[in-house]
Symmetry: C2
Subunit: 550 residues, 2 copies
């Protein structure tokens, strides 16, 4: 049996015995085989001594048991690391940031406590998955959609605490933003309910977020200040219909006005789904899709195009432009989605076309139109998350990407946030391509386009491969860290990362001699003086470990 660092074997044995009393012997895992399941399946430390491992795992079934576990951990000063359910692949899996911690596995707390159809919310425990919630809703014929990430095997609580995103309207897409009300077990074992939940018998815990006095919910996300045991989420009532359409643009410079118009359209909610931008010209994989739109399609893998792209400067050259015009392949595309009444969707799509028509040569194609709910046949055709349906189909994007063409054993997501402008897209491509070359990592695709999970900013999600070769992994880890620095030099910060990089990234948020991190540490020491909860998570180490590191 592995023993957590800084804990005596006597204390650890005593703590394990107490954990067993608290949750039942069968829900305390100490066998090597069981404990190994909490390793990160995509660990960049595979086969190395730095690999993050648990010493044991405890799986309570109730908030009272969580309280007991936390109190026992406090008594014996056992580091514990809370996880919900799901995989968290590419962002660290379930492995503790502080190796040797006891994993507090909340998967058994999988109760859907309430789904309120009229008021369109759900209250769930951490072990509930998006699939669980979806099934619960479907079985009861409730006409609510959940905003799911892709793949959807995760936990609404876990995903929102890591600030994941989905695909529906902006007000649902940001999973932390669309939560309402929390229950948290603090390090001292006390239960706190936030927002209106702090009022006994409250009628609006899931309806009004901020309650009275300081709104503390945010400090429990991407942190280690408490164990969240319940959360409410605002759900999207099933709309009447769905429409999507794509605008296509001819010229490189069109990227700038295209993004500006798209942003206006989303900020005024003329389009209320997640926009999706692409480049039929530069993304070879996309070329086949656009044959519907153009009468004279280029072959999917035209050697002339590949050669032009290879010679272009961040996707731009006179020859490439000439090719695009000659072959009638659009440089850019912007797909918009509309949820609502059929006539309103059509009117909004018409209006969006009108706005985009300010860009000469813009062309348009209506893509999908569905009356909702989808028929079983339609369900199999669509990108399910855009209809509130969890799916594992897109899981493969994590494995094979243009950046990661040869099958690897996993990936690490590099996820910088950039401004929502065409200029920023071009600058990011220049910077990241040069950096990739310099750091000797697989070059990015000819031109990479960001996603619109967040309504006001773009996010790039690049996969760094994880292999079964220790030297390759070391090089990739070093390159990942250099990429973090390079991004920071340009004012681009990551929103989330695996434990291997959390300190490095938090260190780039260094304004005023790391005053924000120092504030985190002040709060940490106040709410968890023994530093038992999820030490190191998002760069926050308890006092005794900060001192040891220094």
């Amino acid at each position: 049996m592995r023993i957590p660092p800084g804990v005596s074997s006597t204390d650890f044995s005593a703590a394990i015995a107490k954990f067993e009393q608290a949750v039942g012997k069968e829900w305390v895992f100490t066998d090597d085989g069981d404990v190994a399941l909490y390793k990160d399946a995509y660990s960049p430390f595979w086969g190395e001594s730095d690999e993050l491992v648990a010493s044991a795992a405890v799986a309570p079934d109730s908030v009272e048991q969580v309280q007991q576990v936390v109190r026992i951990a406090n008594h014996y000063k056992i580091p514990i690391y809370a996880v919900s359910t799901g995989k968290n692949l590419g962002y660290g899996g379930s492995a503790p940031v502080y190796s040797g911690s006891v994993v507090l596995d909340l998967k058994r707390m999988n109760r859907i406590l309430e789904v309120n159809e009229k008021s369109a919310y759900a209250l769930v425990e951490p072990g509930v998955s998006y699939f669980d919630l979806y099934r619960h809703i479907q079985e009861r014929g409730i006409k609510l959609w959940i905003d799911v990430p892709d793949p959807g095997w995760g936990s609404p609580i876990g995903n929102s605490l890591d600030r994941g995103g989905g695909y529906l309207m902006a007000n649902y897409r940001n999973h932390f933003d669309s939560h309402c009300g929390m229950e948290v077990v603090l390090a001292n074992g006390e239960i706190v309910r936030t927002g209106m939940g702090a009022m006994p018998g409250s009628k609006t815990w899931q309806e009004y977020k901020t309650g009275f006095g300081p709104w503390v919910d945010g400090i429990f996300s991407q942190s280690n200040f408490g164990v969240v045991t319940k959360m409410g989420f605002w759900l999207m009532p099933q709309p009447e219909a769905y429409l999507s359409g794509t605008a296509y643009f001819e010229r490189y410079e069109d990227l700038m006005p295209m993004v500006e118009i798209m942003t206006y359209l989303e900020n005024t909610r003329a389009t209320n789904g997640m926009p999706d931008i692409g480049s039929p010209l530069l993304s070879v994989t996309m070329i086949q899709d656009i044959t519907k739109a153009y009468s004279e399609p280029a072959p999917p893998t035209d050697p002339e195009l590949n050669a032009l792209i290879a010679k272009a400067d961040v996707g731009k050259s006179p020859e490439l432009q000439e090719y695009a015009l000659r072959k009638k392949i659009p440089y850019w595309s912007c797909k918009l989605s509309f949820y609502g009444a059929p006539k309103a969707n059509s009117a909004n799509w018409e209006y969006c076309q009108d706005k985009f028509s300010a860009i000469p040569g813009a062309k348009f194609m209506q893509d999908e139109f569905y009356k909702l709910p989808l028929t079983p046949e339609q369900r199999e055709k669509v990108h399910k998350p855009q209809f509130g349906i969890p799916s594992l189909a897109m899981f493969s994007i994590g494995e094979r990407t243009p950046m990661n063409p040869t099958p690897a054993n996993g990936h690490m997501w590099f996820s910088p946030i950039i401004p929502r402008t065409g200029e920023a897209i071009i600058e990011a491509n220049r910077v990241f391509q040069e950096a990739a070359k310099e750091f000797g990592i697989p070059v990015l695709s000819a031109f990479s386009l960001p996603s619109c999970y967040w309504e006001r900013a773009f996010i790039y999600i690049f996969a760094f491969p994880v292999t079964h070769d220790i030297e390759t992994n070391r090089r990739n880890r070093a390159a990942f860290k250099k990429m973090i620095q390079r991004a920071a030099e340009h004012g681009w910060g990551e929103y989330r990362t695996a434990p291997a990089y959390q300190d490095t990234i938090m260190n780039t948020y260094s304004y005023n001699n790391h005053s924000l991190l120092r504030l985190h540490e002040t709060l940490k020491d106040a709410v968890d003086p023994n530093g038992i909860l999820s030490a190191g998570r998002y760069g926050i180490w308890p006092k005794h470990l900060r001192e040891r590191k220094a």
Copy 2:
């Protein structure tokens, strides 16, 4: 010169001298006349020894000066109370919660640091008012709207930190929710920037809210954990057009489906403005307005109607229903607003009518249609805040309400949050009317309807009068406190209040032996160990004052 409690006159004089060095002699106010300006103009303690007063005021011009003031206050343990600009009438004005504190008046910090039209945001200091920001935007021909409260003389920073609301789309209406990024001076004088602002040279401080690691912004709202010196706000790009229309319903029971359908329509964004619900039948003041909609209008003050209302049970009786049907006066109305392209607005309004038509007898009237921007003539006709224009015209609602018919010297807002259902409206009317009778305060109007500032919950805003009669004020304060308790017994909590009631309200958020308040206190002691910042605000007292109170 008044001296803050617990401070020696020597120390206070020394501190004042240091404040003068820091900000300039002319920006430190100690004369009784100057200091009296910080009293609450609507103080419920008028003429009593409990009236909250400042001992002095300091008005720094820059964040560096704020740092100096805070450091001086820390050194001499002077209690200071930060205010931005505006009036905050009904919620406590600028008076410190802890009487005798030095007001830290941020009105000179009135710089509009950035307005970014393409990315639709502003970055401002606390002394900037909604009017300042509006003028700045207008003078430059920038096509952005600000979501303003009504009246609009307040500060975007002050209003959002107190969690005020406005009138535009739901994603702008909640002023705290629509902020992005803060700069805060902590009690130790350190500057923290939150979200992406913690990255030096960040490109997305006003574009991505949560940054990396715990999102701390919420703890600086309705609290005393720091002095906010900059905040970003997402603004609404000027839409193409505005449409409003009202649905009318015949029967008492229609309230329930009306609210349910309205909520569905807003949650799916079929209507994207703030809904406004009314009762032409029960609100005598509204009767004249509906003469447009009905061929046989009732006279504005029909004694028969008044008698029926007086005898009805929470707005309901067979006779009243019969009267409403006979006179063709709708029981309920629901006005919806639409921002967007003209055709999309019309299609959405048509869809909303279609949904409301599930209620038998529903009638509809289109109200306003404007291509935007408004012409000067149109501006004078509209309710300006619904067009992003700050105004003082509605200020009078605070003075004369059905609940407060005789001119008083001010008012205190009682602002409970209730669920967004028709059932909750009826229950709230029953409870608050009975309570008003029991507590001997002016009875509410025959039937009160809540506002929809928040997208998922209703808020009632009742005015309790403030007079120049000490006994009346005492009775009204006692009744206010009883009303808080009565609301809490029904699970309804207030979202905001004047200093006189902050402890009482925070005490109703008492789940698990006040564990949320105790968490606030733990955080307070950690970030402000000397307890110098805004002691008592929202029920949070520093350690030495908690001990004294206990």
